[in-house]
Symmetry: C2
Subunit: 678 residues, 2 copies
């Protein structure tokens, strides 16, 4: 609707406003926006999209603006009014509800609000007892023009106003009263002249994901280790048997490491040894053998039907299934013989195995993403994802995406989500911050994070502040894994059961999405000395676990997951704020819903050895609680209740018993004794 090109008459035709970078109404500083609209902002179903911008033009005239939203590819916009929230900085805000998942785009349109400008001017002049007879004529013309645009009752109303102004007995005062009325202003606001409206130059992309994209508890397992008979492969049937237990703990995403046939050539043995015995299963990440590749199932685990039954059973209990996708091949993967053009051969006719010199991964070869047949390869990889979606998988955990080209991920995620907007992708990119962030920008729903290595109060405070309070919250949703098959952090190795309790509390309350890898609930901490690797790792063998081994923390995990489900505040990642304590070993942080009907504060020691006395400060002003008004505090972990007044309170944390407390706050309404009780 904006007027960018002059009428092509005479000398005027020489100036093409569209070639300029500025517009008659400036719309800038539009937020949220990732890299000036290059990448999509992420929100979730049921959220509102709040958009801010600086909107201004020359002079003092009033402006109007709307936020416009539509599904990607749609032609019609839905419009939502924007309001001026800070005149000095020319800031405007608008909000659109997000009722649907998928890809959207939004932009802003602004125009000169001639009627408000007119009423502002006339109001001031009338106030200064100046003559406004000319202004009344000009205002009448505005009403007349609006009457031509308006329909139905509004058109009738405007014509009535015109009649009133034109009436023989109308006085200047009666005309001013008629023209300055709030009723007229409301109708005029509905029929503005938008012929010179200006569009913001960009349409900004938005991806709306299902709630589980930003609120979920993941449980990672090796299906082959879910069996009950020593020396025998666990199967999908065994996994199904474990579902009720996992669900009872409150997990809602069940994540399987790769389930495909495993290569034989150069197979790794126990503890990553170079040779495997005949009965050793190899690493599930050495994908592919004569029995099939990325779309096949390891015969020992069961059949495709068994897998589908497992998925259905999980879904039936309210859990989704996440599958690991590792784009790499064992040397005996079918692609190697069927599509040698996807690999790079060395001068001796071999394919280069994976290396990080001087380290060698002889059981894996990599495809060539930029080879001469790259796009056939890319399409085949896309088909792998689609294959598993057709078999019930809704979430993919992607192994090492940072060693594959960024544009591949943008393309594959984009095209898959165009058809399956509910599908999620978790990026396992333990790499440099800009690459970790870029993978989130190009489409990954969730990201592994540095949480695993952030242990001290200061580290966690700084890291979570970055994740929740800077621009990256607009596109990156971290998934806080407390451990992984590759990472048994030193903190867990050395801190024993209290360390597992502490990290469980931190992962589940600092982030809205978190996960554990099986064994965490058993406080398994047998490491290869000096490394973060598990000793006798499941990566190279299968195990039979006693899932009720003494010392487990399943009760704590169950309670944490249910606290998360019961408290809406804990489901909003960006609501996190840190609050003061007098103890450098104790974190105190909270989340509140916007209307303060749910307020949850976590007090958590980061010291697995020493008991802590701590004073913590509640942010009463933010909580909307007067300093002299009592509030009820329920420790959701211990069940203890307190009635507290004022900001500072004391607590005692014993690592063996309660290294943490999770407080739900309920303000007490003060009784007004002046009002007689019924």
């Amino acid at each position: 609707m904006s007027k960018r090109k002059p009428a092509a008459t005479g000398a005027s035709a020489a100036i093409d406003l569209s070639s300029l970078s500025s517009r008659p109404i400036v719309i800038e500083q539009v937020r949220p926006a990732i890299d000036h609209g290059r990448f999509a902002v992420k929100r979730r179903e049921g959220d509102a999209l709040q958009v801010g911008a600086a909107i201004f033009a020359e002079g003092h005239g009033a402006l109007s603006a709307v936020l416009k939203l539509r599904k990607a590819g749609a032609t019609d916009w839905r419009e939502f009014p924007m309001v001026s929230v800070n005149h000095g900085l020319a800031l405007w805000e608008g909000e659109a509800p997000l009722e649907d998942i998928g890809r959207f785009e939004y932009t802003i349109e602004a125009w000169r609000d001639l009627w408000t400008s007119w009423t502002d001017e006339v109001g001031k002049k009338v106030g200064a007892h100046q003559d406004v007879s000319l202004e009344l004529v000009e205002g009448r013309a505005l009403v007349e023009a609006a009457a031509r645009r308006a329909i139905a009752d509004d058109a009738k109303y405007l014509k009535t106003v015109l009649k009133g102004v034109d009436a023989r007995d109308a006085t200047p005062d009666s005309k001013v009263a008629l023209m300055m009325s709030d009723d007229l202003a409301a109708v005029m606001a509905r029929w503005p002249d938008r012929s010179e409206a200006v569009d913001y130059d960009l349409t900004l992309p938005l991806v709306v994901d299902p709630i589980r994209a930003s609120f979920a508890a993941w449980y990672e397992m090796f299906p082959r280790s879910q069996g009950t008979v020593e020396g025998q492969w666990g199967t999908f049937e065994d996994c199904i048997r474990r579902l009720p237990e996992v669900r009872a703990m409150g997990f809602d995403v069940l994540y399987f490491v790769p389930i495909h046939p495993i290569g034989v050539s150069h197979r790794k043995g126990k503890n990553n040894s170079l040779t495997a015995g005949p009965d050793e299963p190899g690493s599930p990440y050495a994908i592919g053998s004569a029995e099939g590749g990325h779309t096949a199932i390891h015969p020992a685990l069961g059949t495709m039907e068994d897998f589908e039954r497992l998925v259905r059973s999980a879904n039936h209990m309210g859990m989704e299934v996440a599958l690991d996708i590792a784009i790499q091949c064992a040397p005996d993967h079918p692609w190697v013989t069927e599509h040698p053009e996807w690999f790079k051969f060395r001068p001796d006719g071999t394919i280069k195995y994976a290396e990080n010199p001087p380290k060698k991964y002889q059981d894996i070869v990599n495809v060539e993403f930029f080879g001469p047949h790259q796009y056939d390869l890319w399409e085949e990889l896309r088909q792998v994802f689609l294959f598993w979606i057709r078999h019930g998988v809704t979430i993919f955990r992607v192994d090492n995406p940072h060693t594959k080209p960024v544009p591949f991920w943008e393309w594959v995620i984009r095209t898959i989500k165009d058809d399956y907007p509910f599908v999620q992708f978790l990026s396992e990119a333990f790499t440099r911050p800009p690459m970790m962030k870029m993978l989130a920008k190009v489409g990954f729903t969730q990201s592994y994070s540095y949480f695993t290595w952030r242990n001290s109060k200061q580290e966690l405070t700084e890291y979570l502040t970055e994740l929740t309070q800077t621009d990256c919250v607009e596109y990156m949703q971290p998934n806080f894994f407390a451990n992984t098959p590759d990472i048994l952090p030193e903190f867990l190795q050395r801190g024993g059961r209290p360390a597992f309790m502490i990290r469980a509390v931190l992962a589940s309350t600092l982030s809205t999405v978190y996960g554990i890898y099986n064994g965490f609930e058993l406080c398994e901490n047998d490491a290869i000395p000096g490394k973060e690797e598990y000793n006798n790792s499941e990566k190279y063998e299968f195990k039979v676990w006693d899932w009720d081994r003494p010392g487990h923390i399943k009760d704590l995990l169950t309670r944490l997951n249910h606290i998360r489900l019961d408290n809406r505040a804990l489901q909003d990642f960006r609501a996190l704020r840190f609050y003061p304590t007098d103890n450098d070993d104790v974190l105190f942080y909270g989340r509140m819903t916007a209307d303060r009907d749910n307020m949850v504060f976590t007090l958590c020691s980061v010291n697995p050895f020493d008991a802590q006395h701590v004073w913590m400060q509640f942010p009463l002003a933010e909580m909307g609680i007067p300093a002299d008004q009592a509030f009820e505090v329920e420790d959701l972990l211990s069940g203890d209740r307190h009635l507290w007044t004022g900001p500072w309170h004391h607590y005692y944390l014993d690592p063996a018993v309660n290294p943490a407390a999770i407080f739900r706050i309920r303000p007490w309404r003060p009784v007004d004794y002046r009002t007689p009780s019924p």
Copy 2:
């Protein structure tokens, strides 16, 4: 050079990489960049353009990158190497010298550095005593390919290397030595394979201005008040007579308020009264009469020849002339009758005069920037600037640009600077921050600022930190006017001569561009009570000044201007830093050249009444001076010298004598007594 489209063969053709937002090599966070390249970064002649970016790709391979710069419209780029400065954040930096003024553009190109990747890998493997015979064959192929690209000596050299590798007596060790040599690495770096290079998606605009755009001292005058005979118009001839004095004070821009014929109808009288007597001259901002409009000269001032002589005389003394351009008309401006289509007529057939209800400016009417003949009007206005450029004006001070459309300014400044890149525009936009900044973004060389109303230490520190340390330093150069014909700040009204001294020091040392309006040097502070307006303002009458009136501060201004000229540190706006004192009424700040060969610190009281004792802290580490080494301190205002050691020093500031000190620092080289003297 980037490969964005696949070969159109088979299924591959379906994927068009160019439709994606990401590239095989990510180039992002490119800085400086204004609004993602929408507006030009500003630099000055002789500066270097330092460009930073995050550059990374999948995996661990090495990358190379260049910064590319060219004149706008040119086809060939000049390339400057970029280097990795922070691996963890993937940050790279490059630098290009700016030898010329005008409009430029810059971008970045990156590619995979196959040779460095190869030497990295082989180096690690050789270090781990692994076999590298296959790698040597692969490396030889890289050298062979480079030899095909190389010319002259480099081609010869590479062929010699190949011969050495192929020699019958070459051993694995001799081949490694040959291939891993630094000489070979240097040649290989000159002939990289850039067939898969990736261009940053944007070319970013850059405007390089003359030095005076960001280092200048302005002197504003009413030509009609430069006369010597009471009751008689000053003339251009009088202005010429004043040039030596203004130049001796060290000013280098001479700025004239409008010099055009003044309207008769509704002419304002003394002190803005509604009626003017027959001999009253009217406001020079009520432009135009039967004698001409924006391209005419008021006959009382002289002829066009006189004006040109004035300009030439000023230029001859090293001064440029700045002219005020106010786009508004007296009701008797020739445009009103010759181009009624450029104005908006009211229902009664009049043109609306300027208003800010309930205030009225009856002696001024405004043109319609968006009327049906807007582009003829725009072109006519452009011709006004071009007219004065042809008559020697190189700088335009634009009156109230924020009440005219932003795109008009972008267009008029851009098209004028395309032909006259040395021309400067100063924006007089005392308005909301986003509009002030937007006018700078669309092309204004300099901006009036809020300096006039920033008096306290905290206000000045905060404001200058914003101006020099945030993004706005990339495009906005403030011009710190200590007073203007419209603004006699309360601080000057009430603080007397010390207040004028303080504001002169602050304006000239906080900013690299500053100005005064004539009378400031005389400490003229006669105000209309309760307003910031001058009493008996020159805007409505002409005056005869005694330029040597007792109490003047011309000596101080002269000294300040010469200190600025003598010290390169004071010519670099963004080098400003604030340092601690123990006194909330005393500012301490400094500027240092990059190589520390010029270091100047200003200590300035902001209290015009009370003497101040103050302790100030020198940033010895930044200055490169050990805490136990003496440094010589010369107070450039008083001439006093000190020999100081350590960071904290005491000073005494007496508003009547020295409300400020400007210290030039000269480190003393410590004498090494172990070395016998000659």
